[in-house]
């Protein structure tokens, strides 16, 4: 079936070199097209404030898509990332609440909670990895089981309510900016000068959300690990051909466990980001579907669910496509519900294009 469709595509207009190049970068092209269209249809779409907001909101999806990229390259899937993230968020919140109640200084409470959660978030991945490699449970089932377990634990910890009463520093840092500028008067790092009267706060330009350098560094490190490091080579090797990977002496099981541990660690990190940005501990709702949107971003970025293909920056591009689709539609005053439909259509188009040009990316 594959070959047939590809051959037909090859004969058509899109079989030309230009067509091939277009297919290879269609997600980027689509993003560009969206940016142009929404600039015309949405008021204030094309503004630094809006773009910064998009980056801020997408920090969590960036991390989850990066996590999913590693797993998808191995030919697996991790459905638990969204709920592990929620578990990390409420887990950290609960630890902070308990430590604050024991009159620990807020700074220490935050540091201890983050450390505990980041270490703890290795555990779901470890279980996933062992269940998948040692007990040969398909990744879909193993991580779906973990999806239920993490969801139940998060709900138990939070009792079904967001956990508040946390230190103010959280959202101050999570929503902070690198530069606060009032043209002609001051440029201030990390926080606005206390001297500025409340009435003039709105005049201050806030530039570079702190999450921007954070996510760029995180993605760059992950991209390096995937492209340049042995870890990445092994990841691609397993996804390309499990047998070949075994023959070439890669400890496949050990590596797969590491990949799932990395995935749930990044989900835990996303939970930490979540608590910094919202200032409260949030459990993940079924509606959020973080894991599915993460997979969608990875697929939009050109990865194949069959494994062997995928790149961190391409997945990040996929996240941006989904993000600007949502943001642009909202700013253009279109009902948010169209977004769900648009995502669905876009995903199918992505896969069909990849089928038509199997070698494009």
């Amino acid at each position: 079936m594959d070959g047939e469709i590809a051959a037909e595509g090859g004969r058509g207009i899109l079989g030309t070199r230009a067509g091939r190049a277009l297919a290879a970068n269609w997600a980027a092209g689509f993003l560009l097209l969206m940016l142009i269209v929404f600039s015309l249809t949405g008021r204030n779409f094309l503004s630094i404030v809006n773009f910064q907001n998009v980056i801020q909101i997408q920090t969590v999806p960036f991390l989850l898509a990066a996590a999913e990229t590693f797993v998808v390259i191995t030919g697996g899937i991790d459905l638990s990332v969204g709920f592990v993230m929620g578990l990390a968020s409420v887990g950290a919140a609960r630890i902070m609440q308990l430590m604050l109640a024991a009159s620990v200084a807020p700074g220490w409470a935050i540091a201890a909670a983050i450390a505990a959660v980041l270490v703890g978030s290795l555990l779901p991945g470890l279980v996933n990895g062992i269940v998948i490699t040692k007990f040969k449970v398909p990744p879909f089932i193993a991580t779906m089981g973990m999806f239920g377990i993490a969801n139940g634990l998060a709900l138990k910890i939070s009792q079904g309510f967001p956990l508040g009463g946390l230190p103010d520093q959280l959202s101050a840092i999570g929503n902070g900016y690198l530069l606060y500028v009032l043209p002609g008067e001051f440029v201030s790092l990390f926080s606005r000068p206390a001297s500025i009267p409340y009435a003039r706060i709105r005049e201050i330009a806030r530039l570079v959300p702190l999450t921007l350098p954070f996510i760029v560094i995180a993605l760059a490190a992950l991209s390096f690990a995937l492209k340049r490091a042995r870890f990445g080579r092994h990841t691609y090797a397993i996804g390309g051909s499990m047998d070949a990977a075994v023959r070439s002496g890669i400890a496949v099981d050990r590596h797969l466990v590491k990949v799932y541990v990395l995935s749930s660690f990044l989900a835990g990190l996303a939970g930490v980001v979540n608590i910094f940005q919202t200032g409260i501990g949030n459990y993940t709702t079924f509606n959020a579907q973080y894991e599915f949107f993460a997979v969608a971003a990875v697929v939009l970025g050109g990865a194949s669910l069959a494994g062997g293909k995928g790149r961190i920056w391409s997945s990040a591009l996929g996240v941006l496509v989904l993000a600007f689709l949502e943001n642009g539609l909202a700013i253009s005053g279109i009902l948010p519900f169209y977004r769900y439909i648009a995502v669905g259509v876009l995903l199918v188009v992505a896969v069909v294009i990849d089928k038509l040009f199997p070698d494009a990316r």
């Binding site: 079936m1 594959d2 469709i5 899937i77 269940v131 007990f135 040969k136 449970v137 398909p138 879909f140 089932i141 193993a142 779906m144 089981g145 973990m146 999806f147 239920g148 377990i149 993490a150 969801n151 139940g152 634990l153 709900l155 138990k156 009792q159 079904g160 079924f286 509606n287 599915f292 997979v295 969608a296 697929v299 669910l305 069959a306 009902l335 519900f337 169209y338 977004r339 769900y340 439909i341 648009a342 995502v343 669905g344 259509v345 995903l347 199918v348 896969v351 069909v352 089928k355």
Partner: protein, 360 residues
């Protein structure tokens, strides 16, 4: 992966009578033993669980999972997955209420508008499945992506229809059917469908909720189709080995279309039943049921790689979840524990199943 790839092993869905066929399908099966232990545990743990009414309640609140699990089973046997069932359920719950309201506004009688509304909803409910099937079979889109996309489309369209709130306004007759029972036995004798009017404090024995009857019949029909019809044999053959199925002259693409249509038909029925039970429709009515329905199929021993699984065993898987749900509720444990336990049982089920097959 699985050794149960022969269609012959598909025999023994519950419609084959409660006799030998059924027994053979669960022979040596730990799931039935597990279900028994689970029921015994909850009977012991929460007084009142071992009652006729709890049994009925369990089936009543389980209908959505029974239907969605059957839907998922067909797809999983072909080696696919249908992520859209939960949102097709929500979509159908909304469409049924809107259509029934529309037929009612045409001046048709309540009964007729219910009938036409339900019929039309089930027809509309085929569309998501046909699109899924076309994407999977003809455009070679992976089932995960195709059905996830359909999930989004159903979610979006549902919310657009109701503009982000609930669908409401079903006639009272609908909820009478949805929450009613087949038979009532009171002091004045037995009656069918109509609950007798009795004085306060006089108890009326209610026997079998209507929707449980409907669900049992529909699941039974699909169980029969899977176990005995040519369609069913083809479904197993496709899951066992697609290439062999093609060589054997099975119209694989048409069958896949049929399988995904079956899935969304059953999900739509679950949505209609939801509307009749709760007299409301909402887009995310079935959002949390995806885990339960896939878990039921997998606990029932079907392989995610396709080719194996029966409706009978899937129903046992669904019952394990339903018992867990009601048992936890009745013993006063927060339902949060249910998600954890379903997750654990899901993983253990696959491990135990593998172990059993290797031992066999």
């Amino acid at each position: 992966m699985s050794k149960n790839r022969q269609p012959a092993l598909a025999d023994g869905a519950p419609t084959g009578g409660r006799g030998r066929a059924f027994a053979s399908s669960v022979k040596g099966s730990w799931v039935l033993i597990f279900l028994g232990l689970e029921i015994a545990f909850f009977c012991f743990k929460s007084p009142g669980f071992a009652a006729f009414d709890s049994g009925q309640m369990l089936l009543f609140y389980g209908v959505q999972v029974f239907l969605l699990a059957t839907a998922e089973l067909f797809v999983i046997i072909t080696g696919g997955i249908d992520l859209s069932v939960g949102y097709v359920l929500g979509f159908a719950s909304i469409v049924s209420i809107k259509l029934i309201g529309w037929f009612g506004s045409l001046g048709l009688g309540t009964g007729l508008s219910l009938l036409l509304g339900v019929g039309a909803t089930l027809l509309v409910g085929l569309i998501p499945g046909l699109v899924n099937g076309a994407l999977v079979a003809y455009l070679d889109v992976p089932p995960f992506i195709a059905t996830f996309s359909m999930l989004g489309v159903c979610h979006g369209v549902s919310e657009l229809i109701i503009n982000g709130v609930y669908a409401m306004g079903l006639p009272k007759l609908a909820s009478d059917i949805g929450t009613g029972h087949l038979m009532y036995v009171g002091p004045g004798g037995a009656s069918l469908f109509q609950k007798p009017i009795v004085d306060r404090g006089v108890s009326v024995l209610e026997i079998v909720p209507n929707i449980v009857v409907v669900t049992a019949i529909v699941v039974g029909i699909f169980a029969f189709a899977l176990a005995r019809s040519k369609f069913g044999r083809h479904v197993y053959a496709i899951g066992g080995n697609v290439d062999a199925a093609v060589r054997a002259g099975i119209p694989v693409k048409r069958r896949l279309l049929g399988v995904y249509a079956t899935s969304s038909f059953l999900a739509s029925l679950a949505g209609v039943v939801y509307a009749f039970m709760y007299v409301s429709g909402k887009a995310d009515a079935g959002a949390s049921l995806l885990l339960d329905s896939i878990a039921a199929v997998v606990i029932g021993g079907a392989s995610m790689f396709g080719g194996s699984g029966t409706v009978g065993r899937t129903m046992i898987g669904a019952l394990i979840i339903a018992v867990l749900d009601l048992g936890l509720r009745m013993s006063g444990t927060p339902t949060f524990d249910k998600y954890i336990l379903v997750g654990v049982i899901l993983i253990l089920a696959v491990i135990v199943e593998r172990y059993m097959q290797e031992a066999a």
